[in-house]
Every structure is written in C-alpha cells, then in structure tokens.
Point group: D3
Chain length 61, copies 6
Amino acid sequence: MPIVQVEIIKGRTVEQKRQMAKQVTEAITKTLACPPEAVKIIIREMEKENYAEAGTLFVDK
Amino acid sequence: MPIVQVEIIKGRTVEQKRQMAKQVTEAITKTLACPPEAVKIIIREMEKENYAEAGTLFVDK
Amino acid sequence: MPIVQVEIIKGRTVEQKRQMAKQVTEAITKTLACPPEAVKIIIREMEKENYAEAGTLFVDK
Amino acid sequence: MPIVQVEIIKGRTVEQKRQMAKQVTEAITKTLACPPEAVKIIIREMEKENYAEAGTLFVDK
Amino acid sequence: MPIVQVEIIKGRTVEQKRQMAKQVTEAITKTLACPPEAVKIIIREMEKENYAEAGTLFVDK
Amino acid sequence: MPIVQVEIIKGRTVEQKRQMAKQVTEAITKTLACPPEAVKIIIREMEKENYAEAGTLFVDK
C-alpha cells in the first residue's frame, strides 16, 4: 500500500520505466506520507489495437 | 472519463475490436450523457491458461 | 467473460446505469460474438476528489 | 461474482496456475458462501521490467 | 507480489472477509511458492446497482 | 493515456490527494514524454477491513 497501476501504450524503454518508477514512488511517498517500501507499481503495456478514444482504436489514428 | 476496461480471451480480430470500441462508445455516450471524446476503452486479452471459472482454467475445458 | 469495468464520476441515476448495462451488453455480444449471459459489467463510481486530469482533481475544476 | 484478479511475475507453469485456480476458488466458496460457478479468476502476468517496489524495477534487483 | 483483487457484492461481515483473506493467502502461497508476506489482497465491494450480468443490474433481479 | 490508478487506505485529506495528483502527473510526463492532458489519475480508497497483507486484514493489525 499504496498500489499504483500505470497503463501505457507499448514502446517505452526499460530506462524510461526505471525513471518513471523512481519518480512516481518519490511523488507518492512525499505527498501521501508513506515509506518507499510500501509503494508497489504495476506497469501495463497495451498494443495500439487495444486502446480506443472517442470510439477509435489507436491503431487507426 | 468514463474509462472502460474490457477483458476478453485472446483471439478476436482487429476488426472485431474496432466495431466493439465504436459501439460500446456509442452505448456509453447515449446512456451516460457524455461526449465521445471522454470515453477511453482499454482492451485486455488473456491466454486461455490465465482465466478460470468454477476453479477450472479455460485451457482445460 | 467478457468482463467489463466502467469507471464514472458519481451522480448517475439507477435508470442511467440500467440503460448503460443493457446497451453495452448488446454492443459487446453483437461485436464479439458471445452470449449475453457471458457479459459481466462492474460499475465503479468515484467522488470528484478521486479523479484527476492534467494533474488537477475534478473537485478543483 | 466474485471476480478475482491475481497479478504475478511471469514464470509460473500451467500446473501451478491450475492448482492456484482450484484452491483459491475453494477458499472463496467456503468463506464467502457462494457456488464455485460464480467464481471467475483472471491471472495477469508481468515481465520483471513492469513491476517495481520501493521505486526499483524487479529487473534491477 | 502476488497482488489479489476480489470483487464482491456488499454484505459480507468482517469475519467472512477475515477468513477469506487468510484462506486465499494460504492457497496462493502453497500453489505459487511465495511467502505469505508477499501476498496483498484488495477487497472491493459493490452496491447491487453497480453490477450487471446478461445486461441486467443485480438490483433488478 | 497514461491512465494511473492509485489504491490507498482511506484517511488522506483532499489537499494530500491534490498534491499527489499534481506531482505524480509531473513524474509521468517528465519520464514518459507525454503531455499533462494525457495523464488521468483514479484514486481508490479502501476501508481497513478491505485490505490484507500476509493473510491479515489491516483492521486487525
């Protein structure tokens, strides 16, 4: 606790995920007053055919 | 907002997802009174070994 | 299967949810070729202080 | 209903998932008083670069 | 890790949740070979107007 | 996109959520190279009887 889930379109590098995990954890611990060990982050990656806005798949944009 | 997540077993075509995204977005905008741009749809696909009903994996059915 | 989760800001009536559940189920069965009994819909309602876009809570908009 | 989602790091065998689905379903039906048919289990598998604790990706541990 | 989410209709007692958490944790640790400390369980409770099967809200059944 | 879900135990103030939303959005935009408008954050709050670690509900700790 807290458990954070981040949904993104596929294509980020491991280095981007590494920096994101580090900085989101810092943002959470600083603002919600909890130790870093308590923060779990799950990253979910989606193919462009698996995300839609306004009824249109990203693969069609 | 609204954010819609649709969990399905793997195996649908892109055309099926395209139609689903379109028609679910229409159903949402019509019934919940929101603009199409507000509707985000995330499709999650599962392997048959990653879904169970009544304690039995789909891969065993 | 399919399992659908719909995240909305609090404030819709039961009648709106009723129509939404009905029409989203129809959209899913028609486009993904599955029986209505297979479609489960979970509605999650959020307070305006529990949703943010562009870093701003809805309660502050 | 109940719908159970289990997030794990990739690497379990189908046999492990089979036993997990069976025993978690038993635990749910026994303690929450519902029939086995009502229990749906979704297993989500993550790559080690998609999970972080204390700001560190598992791939870096 | 593993992180388990259990979606149920409102109405269970704290004692039922206590037993469920205990027995699901045992089922997970035994079948997936992980220590009890690694297992986190999130229980989500829904009102009957927030769950539908076959296009019908539970509040209408 | 990205869509971020943050699960926390109930009890944070609106000001804490406000700061969290702001700083998590900054962390995401800086590390994943996306505009602030693209970042949606859903906060989910749990009662202490709805979260367990190592098989024990938080309400019992």
